[in-house]
């Protein structure tokens, strides 16, 4: 029983960043912009949040206060949103190949934080540990970070926004048939900008969760593929919030299992670590259900 509870909470913790990122990706892809840069956005958000919190702590002489991690979270979201803006400008305004542009951001996310870390901490791979982490919430049988709770509460919100509001209808129209949406008076360009920036902000929040919620510092490449798995969860979840919830829970469970099995003598950890990725490939190959992307995804829009 104890093991099951541990596994349950571990699953929640692992699924939360995937869920936040995938919900972000949902906006972007539903608007017709492939966002392979989610991985990089997580990293930029994680670095920004950890560095912000650390700088505040240094400036205030190690103050521990309620507001500090929330400022970190906010900065993480803003930086994620700015990276989203870069992706949006490249792929919407300049009609860049969206995958190439996203790849550029992912590569930058491996290098850029190191340069800043070197200047601040004389070290290219980790930031200083922070004391102000995002608060925990007690669920009766265990505690989780408040962002885990927020991530799961966001699912119905996103569903409502996408499927029950005029804005959501327009967003989906833009991703399915931008010309038709434009004819109906929807500003395709603005919708896409909003969606991509929103996806960057959510990925940035996921990154902040990793660096100042789940852990207490930024580590180079700490996302370890979360952005790509979130993308796969998006496909597996058929670009639907509840589908995405199920997919991220499945992937989160696989990761939690990998952690639980580590050090045990059931399976070698290195093998178990590969399981989420193998699972993703099986999903993509359609062994576990087919899914259809938004019709206009990946195509630049020309008026």
């Amino acid at each position: 029983m104890e093991l099951i509870i541990a596994l349950f909470f571990s699953t929640l913790r692992q699924a939360a960043p995937l869920l936040l990122t995938a919900l972000g990706g949902l906006f972007s892809e539903r608007s017709g912009v492939v966002n392979i840069a989610l991985e990089g956005m997580i990293l930029f958000g994680a670095a920004a949040a950890a560095i912000t919190v650390n700088r505040i702590e240094v400036a205030t002489g190690g103050l521990e206060a309620f507001w500090i991690p929330w400022v970190g979270l906010l900065v993480g979201a803003i930086v994620g949103g700015l990276v989203g803006l870069i992706h949006a400008i490249a792929s919407i305004k300049y009609r860049a190949d969206q995958i190439v542009s996203g790849t550029a951001i992912n590569i930058a996310a491996l290098g850029a934080p190191s340069i800043v870390l070197q200047v601040l901490y004389n070290n290219t791979s980790t930031s200083q540990e922070v004391n102000n982490r995002l608060p925990l919430v007690n669920l009766g049988i265990g505690e989780v970070s408040v962002l885990v709770l927020i991530a799961f509460l966001l699912v119905p919100v996103v569903w409502w926004v996408l499927f029950k509001t005029p804005w959501g209808l327009r967003l989906r129209a833009v991703g399915e048939h931008p010309e038709a949406a434009e004819t109906m008076g929807v500003n395709v360009i603005r919708m896409r900008y909003t969606a991509v920036i929103l996806s960057g902000m959510l990925a940035g929040i996921a990154g902040a969760y990793l660096s100042i919620g789940f852990l207490n510092q930024f580590i180079r490449a700490m996302s370890a593929g979360a952005g790509f798995i979130a993308l796969a969860a998006l496909i597996f979840g058929k670009w639907h919030p509840f589908g995405v919830l199920g997919a991220t829970l499945l992937f989160g469970f696989a990761q939690a299992l990998a952690i639980q099995l580590q050090g045990g003598d059931i399976l070698p950890a290195t093998i178990v670590q590969a399981l989420p990725f193998i699972l993703t490939m099986l999903v993509l190959a359609g062994f576990i259900g087919r899914s259809r992307p938004p019709a206009a995804v990946g195509k630049p829009y020309d008026k």
Binding site: A108, I266, I271
Partner: protein
């Protein structure tokens, strides 16, 4: 509009010339320099130059530059295009001459001062770190810009640039990335020699920043100045050629292979298994090990191709997943010896003794010799390789009439004959410095050159390659013409993976990682991502890939000294690569006729029509 932009550029150049150091005759190891400027030298840390060194000519040269800038600004407003072009050509030429003069005077003065000091009994030359700096380079760039603007004034100028778009877009992207990278460096680091010095004026602070930026890029490009540096650069470039080819091959077939890191890893694993464990005769072992590297990568890539062909699974995400799986496989094989599966102990033989995750040593016969040992075995320069290359090129160009297959076979024969004959000739004894003999460049570089040739001939000279490119450009048209798209997809990923896998020959069989003939878990598989920048920058052409891989090789080699000298992380290279990819993706912010082939063709057609109309006017047909 264009003219005012030109004036604005001239103004910026002038302001920067006033603010920036023109030359640095002396520099401490920490980068602090003595900054020469026409309006007076800047020397915040109080370095003393040797006596008798005078740079009075700098003021004269600066005055000439101001005149040149003014003249150019007037000339662009001349009404007649032909005269305008001619005048700009002349000014550009004068600028180049002026820059050459500066360089001559500066290096002459330095050499004279050093000689004088040595003659006076100094043990070492007093000036060891010196170079022209931003102010002088600005003149050079401005002059080159003038020549380009001059060409643009003549008829068909725009079409000329559009025709060269394969060069224009990458070069503009590179320049933009350099500017942004310079901005990042300037923001993050204090100016050279200005930290901790009280009472500096704004001019000194700005000059310190500009000096920092210039010196950063001077260090990054410094490996091209000496032979060990060139070897080092090519050693960094070798795996980039392979991964660049792998990504480019995918692009040509319309596939985006982000899986080069994983393919490289599995290729390295296969090469290690063959190189360590295969009990083959010596002459056979090396070729088999090389093929094993290719096969490992090919299978890893081909699997993704098959998944796409059979199930329509997106290759982008699948190749990324395969990267992580490959990393796990590598760790599983080499990070430990003992594992338990459901309680049963399993022992793997692959990890060698010791703390580090590494394989056993590759057998002697499977090792690729270092480049120095190929060029000059036993400190004797050998004619084998040079003669082989010359013979092969000669035969290839001599046999133009033959069909391609026979021509290539004859070339191969000439290559081997040249190698054998050259090896038999008496060599020239040479002394090899330890800086050179310690370089990790190895025979894998030659395999990379062969891979470039394969890419060139397969894609552009065979029907299979033609079909592959057709698949990439217009899959539906290719299918209608009878191409089996699914087979092409699998084949493309198979070959792409093989090319990435071959990069392992450099790291494992050639000891290109750290000089040991082993596979280590620390193998830098992320060069697979660098291949994306190489392929994009090289516009998927063989020559372009070679040049951009070499460029990145130089930068990576320079990044090591940058880290050591200025404390700037060599991750700056990665950021530069990312910026280049991003800028190429947006077409260098250039007008769309540079990136859209249809619009480019339109520009060229219009220029042609214009030219024909002009010719018709100048030679009117009799009786018309």
């Amino acid at each position: 509009m264009g003219r005012y932009l030109f004036l604005l550029t001239g103004l910026i150049v002038l302001v920067l010339m006033i603010l920036s150091p023109w030359a640095v005759p002396m520099r401490e190891f920490d980068g602090t320099g003595y900054l020469l400027n026409p309006l007076g030298a800047m020397n915040p840390k109080g370095l003393t130059l040797p006596e008798g060194l005078s740079f009075g000519w700098l003021g004269v040269v600066f005055a000439l530059w101001v005149l040149l800038l003014l003249a150019a600004s007037v000339v662009v407003f001349l009404p007649d295009a032909a005269i305008r072009a001619r005048a700009l050509y002349v000014l550009g030429g004068l600028g180049l001459a002026l820059f050459a003069l500066e360089a001559y005077l500066f290096y002459q003065a330095i050499a004279a001062a050093n000689e004088a000091a040595l003659a006076a009994g100094a043990r070492r030359p007093p000036l060891r770190r010196y170079a022209l700096s931003l102010g002088a380079y600005l003149g050079l760039f401005y002059s080159l810009g003038l020549l380009l603007v001059a060409r643009m004034q003549l008829p068909g100028g725009r079409a000329f640039l559009v025709r060269l778009r394969g060069v224009v877009v990458p070069v503009v992207s590179l320049l933009l990335a350099v500017v942004v990278g310079a901005g990042v460096v300037a923001i993050l680091r204090p100016g050279l020699g200005t930290q901790g010095v009280e009472g500096l004026g704004l001019r000194e602070l700005i000059a310190g920043k500009l000096d920092l930026v210039t010196y950063t890029f001077q260090i990054l490009f410094s490996p091209i100045l000496n032979l060990p540096g060139i070897f080092n650069s090519l050693s960094f470039a070798t795996p980039l050629i392979f991964t660049g080819l792998a990504v480019a091959f995918g692009f040509r077939a319309g596939l985006f292979n982000i899986g080069a890191p994983g393919q490289l890893t599995i290729g390295a694993l296969f090469a290690m298994l063959a190189g360590v464990y295969l009990p083959l005769p010596g002459w056979l072992l090396l070729p088999v090990a090389i093929l094993a590297a290719a096969l490992g990568g090919a299978l890893w890539g081909g699997l993704v191709g098959w998944l796409k062909a059979r199930f329509g699974a997106n290759e982008v995400i699948n190749t990324i997943m395969m990267n992580y799986i490959a990393a796990s496989v590598l760790l599983f094989m080499l990070a430990a010896n003992e594992y338990s599966f459901f309680g049963n102990k399993v022992t793997l033989p692959f990890k060698a003794e010791g703390f580090e995750g590494r394989s056993e040593e590759i057998q002697e016969a499977a090792r690729i010799p270092s480049m120095i040992n190929i060029l000059a075995p036993n400190s004797t320069f050998s004619w084998a390789l040079p003669l082989a290359v010359v013979a092969a090129i000669g035969v290839y160009y001599a046999l133009r009439q033959l069909e391609l297959g026979k021509r290539l076979l004859a070339t191969l024969a000439a290559l081997l004959a040249g190698y054998w004959l050259g090896g038999a000739l008496p060599g020239i004894p040479v002394t090899i410095s330890s800086a050179l003999s310690s370089q990790l460049l190895n025979g894998s570089f030659l395999i990379a050159v062969l891979a470039l040739l394969f890419y060139n001939f397969y894609l552009f000279r065979t029907s299979g390659g033609y079909e592959l490119r057709a698949t990439g450009l217009a899959p539906k048209a290719a299918e209608y013409a009878g191409v089996n798209l699914r087979r092409k997809m699998i084949l493309a990923m198979f070959i792409s993976g093989a090319l990435a896998g071959l990069a392992a020959t450099h790291y494992v069989l050639g000891a290109g990682m750290d000089g040991t003939y082993r596979l280590k878990t620390a193998i830098p598989s992320s060069v697979g991502f660098d291949g994306i920048a190489v392929a994009l920058m090289g516009q998927n052409t063989p020559l372009g890939i070679f040049l951009s891989a070499t460029l990145f090789g130089v930068l990576l080699a320079g990044g090591v000294s940058l880290n050591a000298q200025l404390g700037i992380s060599n991750q700056i290279i990665q950021v530069l690569q990312a910026l280049i990819i991003l800028f190429i993706a947006v077409g260098g912010f250039l007008p769309r006729y540079f990136t859209d082939p249809l619009r480019a063709a339109q520009v060229e057609t219009e220029a042609k029509a214009e030219q024909e109309a002009r010719q018709a006017k100048s030679s009117p047909i009799a009786g018309d």
